[in-house]
């Protein structure tokens, strides 16, 4: 694919809280290249998650341009955005958000079922099994989320996020609910899988040491995305 995976130009996001207007994202212009890992750091309430949501088509930018994977998000309807997500994105949440009634395998297969890319059910199960193997959970295929540890749940979430080989992986504080050691393992795994699949990563984290593993770190402060900070070699 030629050109950046993510490109925004002079993008703003205004929301209202009750009757109070809020300017959440201010004049954001940046890009992410294919396979590039970008970490965003910044204080709580600075607009990191809002930016992630705009990139994921979960929130609509008030103005400016947002293009993800060659798709211009402005003007797309809810269902068009859903189809955009299934074709381009993987999302990893802080709280995992696995479906509690589904096994690990079914949770991962769900992303492929929703993708509707013409695969047979057998092929879906095979791909989901491989994705879980890639995160070291071959022996947990038939476990329900309630029977998995936090680290295991997040690895299921990771397998679900990358099983479609997305162009962009959005990760919102994926280690926020994990201990440092488990968090580091999940992040390493995420970066490795992203590189294997040439998937770009947009990672939100408070943990500077995790951010340091990214190709690039961006600072978010009061809705402004500041100039890139050089990553030490």
């Amino acid at each position: 694919m030629s050109g950046p995976v993510v490109e925004t130009a002079a993008m703003n996001l205004h929301l209202t809280s009750g009757k109070t207007p809020l300017h959440i994202l201010k004049d954001i212009s940046f890009h992410i290249d294919p396979g590039e890992v970008v970490a965003v750091v910044g204080p709580s309430g600075s607009g990191k998650t809002s930016l992630l949501m705009v990139l994921g088509g979960l929130e609509r930018a008030t103005d400016g341009a947002v293009t993800v994977g060659n798709t211009t998000l402005a003007g797309l309807g809810e269902d068009e955005l859903a189809i955009f997500r299934r074709r381009n994105l993987g999302i990893l949440f802080q709280n995992f958000h696995l479906i509690p009634s589904m096994t690990a395998l079914e949770n991962v297969a769900l992303a492929l079922e929703i993708a509707e890319d013409g695969r047979s059910y057998k092929a879906i199960r095979t791909a989901a099994t491989e994705a879980l193997a890639a995160v070291g959970l071959s022996d947990r295929l038939d476990h329900l989320p309630s029977a998995l540890s936090g680290g295991e749940q997040q690895r299921v979430g990771l397998a679900r996020a990358i099983v479609n080989k997305p162009k962009l992986l959005l990760a919102d504080e994926p280690t926020g609910n994990l201990d440092q050691e488990t968090g580091a393992m999940v992040i390493d795994m995420m970066f490795a899988l992203a590189r294997d699949n040439d998937t770009a990563v947009f990672l939100i984290t408070h943990d500077r040491s995790l951010a340091a593993k990214a190709d690039r770190i961006l600072n978010m402060n009061h809705g402004h995305l500041s100039a890139a900070v050089a990553v030490p070699a």
């Binding site: 809810e78 269902d79 993708a115 509707e116």
Partner: protein, 848 residues
């Protein structure tokens, strides 16, 4: 299709887990569907039994019937050419043994009776045939009687009894006649004797109350051909011809009306159950918000979300419906043999596939219609909520704008149109369904509007003096508050409870009315002027007679209606046809008689003496197309009197009093020689003794034991009330399930609120007072609205469907209403108490 299959497959996988949360949904559907399945199956079984047994119920393919006099032998000979003929004579007579007597509904039969079906005799017949039992042995003929005759007369089988001018041996007990159901209501206990015995007892004389019937099993012709042939052969004959269909028309109409009514009660329980379905689906969707948002973030379209949850709910609904069908089928198979015995109709325990299919159809449509709105709420959920704090009550997130959008409004309208269409197909009464639908819609609208108004008004309320009260009021009107759901569910559940209770109490009042204290025990007819004083003196001196009344009674022949001879009137309904054949009883009155209410026109002045006026029963008005000012010509003692209709009266025959369909104004008619009709009321339990003394003292007197008859009517009404109570209890159970579900709706929020209040330093007392006030207000409003809705519903059903006068049982209504308020508060307090016992730390940690 494979795509949809994939969607459904994932949905079913996702259904795994605790199904107890669907208990209310399953129970609501199972109860409603079960009630409709059972009621319509039993109704269908009754209708098909009547259609199937119509020939047995008539006792042949054609019946020639004449009242008063027998049919000439040349005509009977002609009947024989059409097929086998069985002659039957029905009359009332008195059986006496010693000083006891009993009033009989006597039937005299020929050897070949019955042509179709069989007479059911007691085991004491020992396999003997009917002709054998009735035959004369050693100069004494036999009779077969209802077992109660033996009880009343203190006799045993083989004992002798006098009927008319002959003695008989009671040879067996009678259980049922094949054509009993077509005979209609009978005064007296059933008894059978032979035609020869009837003659020997001098009972085969002409009499107004004697009916001569010739039942014909047609050899080759059908009813239409045979009846045309008979009419052609005997154009002037006064007799009636009845087909098997005519014989069963009244019976079919009655069962039809009653089963329709019960279907409506069943449908009500399903509609209220629908609210339970809606609450359960809303709670489920609320619980699954995170999963829905996850599906959306993975790229699921809103259509997929709908299919996902709709297929889950419909699958569960099908389980509920299947349970309902099993319940309905089971109760049908149990009810039919019981009803068979009660109604003297053969009702084999079979199921009606159409009735079961209709019940299932109602269940599916109700489940879909009531699940749709919460499911649309699921579709509206934004995946962004995964990154933010969970939203409020998701189901409450549906706005009117969402509802009127075609994608919601069209399937909703189609579903309710389907329910209405199915209801029309089942009841065959489009107007009834229309009014029912309007009523149900108004009930929903009223409850929703009331909840909105309450919230609106509370928002405008100035701040209350204490924090606890302010908290309680805010809990009702804050965004996402469960108040509208609680008011709707509580209101509908209670309205149904009240409606069923009022229907039941009114039906039972009807029964009590039938055997009311004022209803007489005996009616004495054709009392001669010279007998009257003696009877009055007998009544006054007999300590067991509590009341005696008498009125003038004349006999007259209606000759013309609106100038048209009665012979040209065409076919008339069975219940009034006899008035136009020969003599009919009539009277005159100065004042409006008790038991009559004026429906139209004016009552004449007590001293009226002008041209003859007449007041008619409303029963005559419609069939004859009469209006005020029309004229009737009635021949009284050979003198034709033309009277103008001055009024129409509704007569309450349950009163059992002395009333006449034809009443003349005073004046001219007073001068005619007249007999009297009298009524006697015996003290409680003294009917038999008074009957014996009366027949002994006045052997020539004709008197009808109406007390017995009224008791039998009461028995029938009691069966109806029991059926209503049974189906009603299912509806009430649905209502209570919905109430329980409604109380559960707010529970999670109450627990969360209680924890926060406790952490902030509120005492248990503060929290409980706040919730008591909140639920007290909601319960009171719901109960008041339910009082209006339930009462209106009961009034409409009684007045327009069952045609029974409505009376408001204020005591019961208020007890239920206040009880409901108390129950709501207590339930609210109990759930609050459990919330208060949760340790805040645990709850807060669970939420983090």
């Amino acid at each position: 299709m494979s795509r949809l299959g994939g969607w459904v497959r994932v949905a079913l996988v996702d259904l795994r887990g605790d199904v107890r949360r669907f208990a209310i949904l399953l129970a609501c559907l199972a109860l409603g569907v079960g009630a409709i399945a059972a009621v319509s199956s039993v109704g269908a079984a009754l209708q098909s039994a009547i259609a199937r047994d119509a020939r047995v119920i008539l006792g042949g393919d054609l019946e020639v019937r004449n009242s008063g006099t027998d049919i000439p032998t040349d005509q009977v000979a002609y009947f024989s050419k059409l097929g086998a003929v069985a002659k039957v004579v029905d009359l009332n007579a008195r059986a006496t043994a010693g000083d006891k007597s009993v009033f009989l509904s006597l039937r005299a039969i020929g050897d070949n009776y019955p042509l179709v079906g069989g007479v059911e005799l007691g085991a004491d017949a020992n396999g003997a045939t009917l002709p054998d039992l009735l035959a004369s042995r050693d100069g004494v003929a036999g009779v077969v009687v209802d077992a109660k005759v033996l009880d009343r007369l203190g006799l045993s089988l083989g004992d002798q009894v006098s009927i008319g001018n002959a003695d008989f041996i009671i040879r067996a007990t009678l259980k049922a006649l094949p054509d009993q159901a077509a005979q209609g209501f009978q005064l007296g206990l059933p008894a059978l004797m032979s035609l020869e015995s009837l003659h020997n007892a001098d009972l085969d004389v002409a009499g107004a109350l004697t009916r001569f019937r010739y039942k014909i099993a047609l050899a080759t012709m059908d009813f239409a051909t045979a009846s045309a042939d008979l009419r052609k052969a005997f154009p002037d004959a006064p007799w009636d011809l009845r087909s098997p269909r005519d014989a069963t028309a009244d019976l079919a109409k009655f069962f039809d009306l009653f089963s329709r009514f019960l279907v409506l009660v069943g449908l009500s329980s399903l509609l209220v159950g629908g609210v339970g379905v809606s609450n359960a689906v809303a709670a489920y969707i609320n619980e699954r918000q995170s999963s829905i948002a996850t599906l959306r973030s993975l790229g699921a379209t809103s259509a997929r979300v709908l299919v996902h949850f709709l297929s889950q709910i419909m699958l569960l609904s099908l389980v509920g419906i299947a349970i309902g069908l099993v319940l309905g089928a089971g109760s049908t198979l149990i009810a039919l043999p019981i009803l068979s015995g009660m109604l003297a109709i053969d009702l084999p325990p079979t199921l009606d596939p159409a009735a079961l299919a209709a019940a299932a159809g109602f269940g599916i449509l109700i489940a879909f219609a009531f699940a749709l709105l919460p499911l649309r709420g699921a579709q509206k959920l934004q995946p962004a909520s995964l990154f933010r704090a969970a939203g409020g009550n998701l189901a409450g997130g549906i706005s009117w704008r969402d509802i009127v959008r075609p994608r919601t409004a069209v399937p909703l309208v189609l579903a309710f149109a389907g329910i209405a269409g199915l209801a029309v197909a089942v009841t065959g009464e489009p107007m009834l369904v229309l009014w029912y639908g309007v009523g149900a819609l108004l009930a929903f609208a009223l409850l929703r509007a009331a909840a909105w108004l309450l919230q609106f008004a509370l928002r405008l309320l100035p701040p209350l003096p204490t924090g606890v009260l302010r908290q309680a009021i805010r809990a009702i009107h804050r965004p996402g508050a469960p108040a509208p759901v609680v008011i709707l569910s509580l209101g509908l559940g209670l309205a149904l409870l009240l409606m069923i209770t009022l229907l039941d109490s009114n039906l039972r009042a009807q029964i009590d009315g039938a055997v009311a204290d004022k209803a007489p025990s005996f009616i004495l007819i054709d009392v001669k002027q010279d007998q009257l004083a003696a009877i009055k003196s007998f009544a006054d001196t007999d300590p067991q007679i509590t009341k005696f009344d008498s009125v003038s009674m004349l006999r007259g022949t209606i000759e013309a209606v609106k100038g048209k001879p009665v012979t040209e009137l065409g076919p008339l309904p069975d219940d009034i046809a006899d008035m136009f054949k020969g003599d009919t009883a009539l009277s005159w009155a100065k004042d409006l008689p008790a038991g009559s209410t004026l429906a139209e026109g004016k009552w004449w002045a007590p001293d009226y003496s002008g041209d003859p006026l007449i007041s008619l029963s409303t029963e005559l008005q419609k069939p004859l197309g009469l209006k005020l000012g029309d004229q009737l010509t009635i021949s009284v003692l050979g003198r034709p009197l033309t009277a103008t209709i001055a009024s129409f009266r509704d007569i309450d025959w349950r009163d059992g009093g002395l009333n006449f369909r034809l009443l003349f104004s005073p004046g001219l008619i007073e001068k005619a020689p007249q007999n009297f009709m009298a009524s006697i009321k015996a003290a409680d339990g003294a009917n038999d003794a008074v009957e014996s003394r009366l027949s002994k003292t006045f052997p020539a007197l004709t008197f009808l034991p109406v007390g017995d008859a009224l008791e039998r009517i009461a028995g029938i009404l009691a069966s109806l009330a029991n059926a209503v109570a049974l189906v009603g209890s299912i509806a009430v159970l649905s209502g209570m399930l919905v109430l329980a579900g409604a109380m559960a709706v707010g529970r999670k929020q109450r627990e969360a609120d209680a924890v926060v209040m406790k952490v902030l330093g509120a005492t248990r007392r503060d929290v409980i007072v706040a919730f008591t006030v909140e639920y007290g207000i909601l319960g009171l409003l719901a109960a008041l609205l339910a009082l209006i809705l339930g009462t209106t519903g009961a009034w409409a059903i009684l007045t327009y469907v069952l045609e029974i006068p409505f009376a408001l049982d204020i005591e019961t209504s208020l007890t239920i209403t206040l009880g409901a308020v108390a129950l709501t508060i207590v339930t609210g307090m109990l759930t609050t108490w459990s919330a208060m016992s949760i340790r805040p730390a645990r709850q807060l940690r669970a939420e983090s």
